[in-house]
């Protein structure tokens, strides 16, 4: 069984995790196991059939694979932006800096299927004429950075990396780079700065990385899951991948379900799957309690109240129509024991802490937002605070170098919009609507092992 549960597994097919705690006991991530389940067949097919780079990009376009890192930008289109005949080096960069609260899918890919990322990156390099790649790995999963280095050694020894790969005449080198605790490095240009050995502060765009990227050279940055989806697309065709999902939303996707469900974990389902189905796969609501709200795409996505999310399907279009974002596919589930002011307070602290400080609206605005939410939560809110929160948040949006500003503002705007009464209650009564002991009991220790899951 792949991870916990899945429908039409493509990414997670054949994954093995015998012991959820002990990395050392993972089986199936090594080269021989990956090859046994069809690994590196896409690369071999590409060379055997002498596919041209243009054909590879065309397949990826057909698949309508949309970037799994958060923005949902079509991967094939992004690849076509790379200059074709530029002299000098080009780079492929994989973004494994997974730090968006709620998101933990790339960690499982790196843990159980690192060669899928490697194969995807080699194919990406071939398609875009790049001969070097880097995988930027979240510092907090250092053990998986080490595993990735081992996987790279295996791939080099087997001739999948290096000069003249499988006799094709194509050269590609790939290396791992680790972060060391900075959420902002998940932003693609901050990530490039970080690889260059600097503070991870985002760059102005344009120029876009496709023109001026790593070391000033044309660069394409993709999320780990996007790249790990590439081998399937090349092996089975873009149309087969598209058919797994629904029009304009190709493929299956990993959803990281956290919060008040019985079995938090990763679930692979086709895009377009009803939210209710995912909730059921994750064991339903913990303790049979009532669903209050869901953040459907990582902490930066607007929150949706229960009645809205229960009518959504999990795809970019449906969630966008409901007023939020599918983002990274991180589904944070909150039940009726949650105080929405307190939940927002914790998220706002995060953005305030992680702002890189370059832009005044973000640096100052995230601090103001946190201070206001903190005072509301602690019984010192003022009647005018709710409008002020909205005003400050909207004044950050669109006025910053990178999207962290929007990411900090959107939760605030949506929490206040959908749960205004609860915020107003705090201001008026100087306490939470949900009694503190109920909150604390509702969020006590819970793991999927306690709910009887085996992995």
């Amino acid at each position: 069984m792949a991870i916990l549960d899945s429908i039409n597994p493509t990414l997670t097919a054949g994954w093995h995790r015998p012991d959820v705690r002990d990395l050392a006991r993972d089986t199936g991530w090594r080269l021989k196991d990956y090859e046994a389940r069809g690994g590196y067949q896409a690369l071999k097919k590409l060379f055997a059939e002498k596919m041209t780079p243009e054909q590879v990009i065309a397949e990826v376009k057909t698949s309508v694979l949309r970037g799994r890192g958060g923005a949902g930008f079509p991967t094939g289109l992004k690849w076509s932006f790379m200059p074709k005949n530029a002299a000098g080096e080009k780079y492929i960069v994989c973004n494994t800096d997974e730090g968006e609260p709620g998101t933990f899918k790339d960690r499982d890919i790196m843990r159980l299927d690192p060669h899928a990322v490697i194969e995807g990156m080699i194919i990406a390099g071939y398609a875009m004429g790049a001969q070097r790649g880097y995988n930027y790995i979240h510092g907090e999963i250092f053990e998986l950075y080490q595993r990735f280095e081992e996987a790279l050694e295996e791939a080099r020894a087997a001739g999948y990396l290096g000069r003249n790969i499988l006799g094709s005449g194509f050269d590609f080198e790939l290396f791992a780079h680790h972060g060391w605790g900075a959420y902002i490095c998940g932003e693609e240009t901050a990530l490039l700065e970080s690889i260059e050995g600097k503070k991870g502060q985002p760059r102005y765009k344009p120029p876009f990385p496709a023109n001026v990227g790593l070391y000033g050279c044309p660069t394409t940055i993709n999320n780990t899951e996007s790249l790990a989806s590439i081998p399937y697309i090349i092996r089975h065709g873009g149309q087969a991948f598209l058919d797994l999902g629904k029009p304009n939303n190709g493929g299956t996707k990993l959803f990281s379900v956290s919060g008040h469900v019985n079995k938090p974990g990763n679930y692979e389902v086709p895009l377009g799957t009803p939210f209710a189905k995912l909730l059921e796969m994750a064991g339903g609501m913990r303790g049979g309690r009532k669903l209050k709200a869901v953040i459907p795409g990582g902490s930066s996505a607007p929150v949706l109240p229960a009645d809205i999310i229960m009518d959504c399907t999990l795809d970019y279009d449906s969630i966008a129509k409901a007023g939020s974002m599918l983002g990274s596919g991180a589904v944070i589930v909150m039940d009726e024991t949650v105080c929405m002011v307190k939940a927002l307070e914790r998220l706002s602290w995060f953005y305030y802490e992680e702002s890189c400080g370059q832009c005044t609206p973000c640096r100052e605005g995230t601090g103001w937002l946190y201070k206001m939410i903190h005072r509301i939560e602690h019984g010192q809110g003022r009647a005018e605070d709710l409008d002020l929160l909205d005003d400050v948040a909207k004044n950050i949006m669109g006025r910053t170098i990178c999207a962290l500003g929007d990411a900090a503002a959107l939760p605030v705007i949506s929490f206040v919009k959908h749960f205004r009464d609860e915020f107003a209650y705090h201001i008026e009564h100087k306490r939470c609507l949900v009694p503190p002991e109920v909150q604390r009991a509702g969020s006590t220790f819970h793991t999927r092992l306690m709910a009887g899951a085996t992995c």
Binding site: V20, R21, E89, E98, G99, E100, P101, G102, F104, D106, R107, Y134, H138, G139, E140, I141, F142, E143, F175, H177, H178, G179, W180, G181, A182, Y183, I195, E196, G197, K198, K199, G200, Y215, S256, V257, S258, G259, H260, P264, G265, S299, A330, I332, V333, M334, V338, A343, R346, L347, F350, E353, E354, R440, S443, T444, F445, H446, T447, R448, M450
Partner: protein
């Protein structure tokens, strides 16, 4: 200043980048230096700067920007607990409270015997396995219920 073994590891990092881009190895070099010395003293940062041919200030900027570099001594075991929202919904805050009470210290404090330092962390990308902790930046521990926390503390010599 740094051991031969550490320098060899730094050299391996340098080799990952184009010849004129030695500076790209600074994050790994600081991490390796911290692993050897326990924390990054000003003279360690200066040494890394010389070794990579960088301005000291540029290395200092990197060391202060990223949260997992320690610019002051920490306990033998630095335990970082994630308390961000997804973890907090499944016991992240309870786990931090349990540790505080067991060790008799708050966040950003070190036990008097110098054995444990406690830190509050942000999302480690493992929220489905909450509560989650990092030991000395490099070792992740998941599903940290009180029994598991007791086991972890007992393992720390």
């Amino acid at each position: 200043m740094l051991s031969e073994a550490t320098l060899q590891k730094i050299d391996r990092e340098i080799a990952k980048y184009p010849a004129e881009q030695k500076q790209s190895a600074v994050m790994a070099a600081l991490r390796l230096a911290q692993q050897e010395k326990g924390w990054l003293a000003p003279e360690t940062i200066a040494f890394v700067a010389r070794y990579l041919g960088m301005a000291e200030m540029a290395v200092y900027e990197v060391a202060t920007f990223y949260n997992m570099y320690d610019l002051a001594p920490v306990g033998k075991y630095k335990i970082t607990v994630c308390t961000n929202l997804p973890c907090a919904l499944s016991g992240g805050v309870h786990a931090a409270d349990y540790l505080k009470q067991k060790l008799g210290i708050d966040f950003n404090e070190t036990t008097p015997d110098g054995k444990f330092t406690l830190k509050e962390g942000e999302c480690m990308g493992a929220c489905g396995d909450a509560p989650v902790m990092l030991v000395n930046n490099v070792h992740m521990r998941c599903f940290m219920t009180p029994e598991e926390i007791d086991r972890l503390l007992a393992e720390c010599e």
